[in-house]
């Protein structure tokens, strides 16, 4: 998306904000303008004013992947520069404001418009380039997380051998043994998975709010650490070693087009080597355009409390809840 378009959309947002200047907050419910191509920051947050919370989530976004004029200008008979009917424009904007999905994009015959198609290709290219990467070490230092490795040695073996990503290396086991407290109620672990950017962007907020939430619930939290190139079932190996009651694994999701920085939190009651998938629970889509990281941390605290109450997670928990 070119700079001019970003400015144009920002202008639209800002002018709308100026119509109703009374509520200015910096809450999570602001209007976000997403820029998929530039380096950071890739989301411009415009403080909330115009949008009331339509949903509990209420995170309206204007995405940059469609051009305002062209999206309604989809009738073949129309001249390319014709101004759209204001009513239709408003109706369409109401829809596109509700979702980051690529809607209201128009068509050329049954095919997408050229700019829509190229934007899609751009975003796919960015997602492909975002797979893997390296987590910012200063972030891990700041959060006091030490780093261990799985049996994975390189990217190719991560992909070819999922089983390696589910097991700790021998050195990792020694280090965890030496540094971690045994049998806490809650063990937090972090892994980059397929997106280091997910960790860079979300970990601090999720981690700190989760810690705070667990503290206020009076839960006993073990020694957290970072696992390089782990898969979800790495929690079983950790569980087998440290015997916590609950593990929460914060892990980078495979990059998508809307966000290459989405994080998931997997939770499991007493994960061990014989744990089955349906006993795990996941809170996915943690990123600034999905579940906001700070809220996710607090929410995870309440889920952990529930897991401890019922002594179960996943499908088992649903069954016990009755």
């Amino acid at each position: 998306m070119d700079q001019a378009m970003i400015e144009k959309i920002t202008e639209i947002v800002v002018s709308k904000l100026n119509d109703q200047p009374e509520e200015k907050t910096s809450s999570q419910e602001g209007v976000k303008v997403w820029d998929y191509n530039s380096e950071k920051p890739n989301v411009t947050q415009v403080s909330n004013g115009s949008r009331q919370a339509e949903e509990a989530e209420g995170k309206a976004k204007i995405s940059t992947f469609h051009t305002p004029e062209k999206q309604i200008d989809n009738k073949e008979t129309k001249a390319p520069k014709q101004q759209p009917d204001k009513e239709v424009w408003d109706d369409l904007k109401q829809l596109t404001n509700k979702t980051p999905a690529r809607i209201g994009v128009g068509r050329a015959g049954p095919r997408p418009k050229t700019n829509t198609w190229l934007q899609f290709r751009y975003d796919h290219a960015a997602a492909v380039d975002a797979v893997f990467g390296k987590v910012d070490e200063s972030l891990l230092e700041d959060l006091d997380l030490f780093t261990v490795k799985t049996k994975v040695t390189d990217k190719e073996s991560y992909i070819r051998r999922p089983d390696y990503g589910r097991r700790l290396s021998d050195e990792a086991k020694k280090e965890i043994e030496g540094r971690c407290r045994h049998a806490p109620q809650v063990q937090i672990i972090v892994s980059d998975g397929l997106s280091s950017k997910a960790i860079d962007e979300n970990l601090e907020d999720v981690y700190l709010s989760l810690q705070q939430s667990l503290k206020s619930l009076g839960l006993d939290v073990g020694t957290p650490f970072f696992i390089e190139k782990g898969r979800v079932a790495i929690m079983d190996d950790v569980g087998e070693m440290l015997k916590p009651e609950v593990i929460v694994l914060l892990v980078g999701e495979r990059p998508g087009l809307v966000s290459a920085e989405s994080m998931s939190a997997y939770l499991c009651y007493k994960p061990r080597l014989d744990t089955i998938e349906s006993d795990r629970m996941v809170v996915s889509n943690i990123h600034r355009g999905g579940i906001p990281p700070v809220e996710a941390g607090a929410y995870l605290g309440s889920v952990i409390e529930k897991i401890l109450d019922y002594e179960a997670s996943g499908v088992e928990l649903v069954k016990k809840e009755g």
Binding site: I72, K75, K98, P100, F120, V131, I276, S278, G290
Partner: protein, 454 residues
Amino acid sequence: MKLSTTHLGHTYQFQSLKSLLAKANEEKSGDRLAGIAAESVQERIAAKEILSELTLKDIRDHPLLPPEEDEVSWVIESQVNEKIYDAIKNWSVAELREYILANETTGEDLKRISRGLNSEMIAGVAKIMSDLDLIFAANKIEVLTKCNITIGQKGTLSSRLQPNHPTDSVEGMIASLKEGLSYGIGDAVIGINPVEESVESVKRMLHATHDFIEEWKVPTQNCVLAHVTAQMKAIEQGAPADMIFQSIAGTETANRSFGIDAKILEEANELAKTQGTGTGPQRLYFETGQGSELSAEAHHDIDQMTLESRNYGFARYYDPFIVNTVVGFIGPEYLYNNKQVLRAGLEDHFMGKMHLIPMGVDICYTNHTKADQNDMEDLGVLLTTAGVNFIIATPMGDDCMLNYQSMSYHDVATLRQTFNKRPSPLFDKWLEQMGILENGMLTSRAGDPTLFTR
């Protein structure tokens, strides 16, 4: 049972039927991961040759996973029609292939012999078929099913509208739904994958889609793809669901890892019948995909293609309204690149149809797979020519919740126009009334989601 052959002075010997079936597969990263793939291309072809000479009886007499040990095997075995089996049991796999392809053999003939085949035989024959064989054969078989409307007719291409939203916002989901309908998408199902699988969230999505369908009189069916138990609870609490969905796998242990078994699916089917909103007779929706058993470490050293075939044998027992393989979703660990995804898509579709399954495909890939959108369009073309019942479509092919790419609303409309296909009849008629489609072509109004703004 002969498990060896000699080619150019080299003797190829295979340990078991299980190993032979695995090594006869086209190259798949998942089979390599499992350590069961052919060591060389020549070994692969040798395996195919030996397989082609085995009889159907050889395959049935040597179960890969005995029915006493695995309920999926039991369910498949219990459906074999003994009279039809008796008539064909001495056919070699090669003879089965040539019967399937013969011009004299009609779709109805295939439906008949299907009743005498088990899933391993169907996987076996698919292993000695080329891509075009799989397309030509599948295209003979018309499988019709009905929930609220009937789909699957020859000359139609139906679609699942997948209006997912990253935070389960109802308004956001409805916005994508409107866009999809304006391209003529959604006659197989309006199906949403929720972020949060709670009963409350399922209920909210079911009500929202049901209300929309009622308001606009859309001839289709709704479904929220949470775990079967969450959907059942939502229905028991009064939520309107036309269908119940579940992901399934080809072994009992893999199903257990999904938190399901044969019994819970029967209960779900019964609940959909007595408390669901779908007319029926079909009311279930299953998703499958090569590699899920291995991923759950529940594959019993059986190759992923044969296990996939067992999914369809298992699914058939429940008479589902729709089934689709999510062919590229599982990732490069199991299907490494575009070539492997394409082959698997054609295999799955053929094996499903040979089981008389109303087969659709989620033609898709993840961003760590070596594939791009062009590859999906190519597979879309191939599957349309193969007569696939339905395709999954998302806005511009980008699922902003599941973080993968599938086909787009535009793609389905384009495939229909290119291959002279229509949506299923009742939906087609509704689209004409709405002014979205005229003689199978998008009208000037089409593609505008504000059509549904009142």
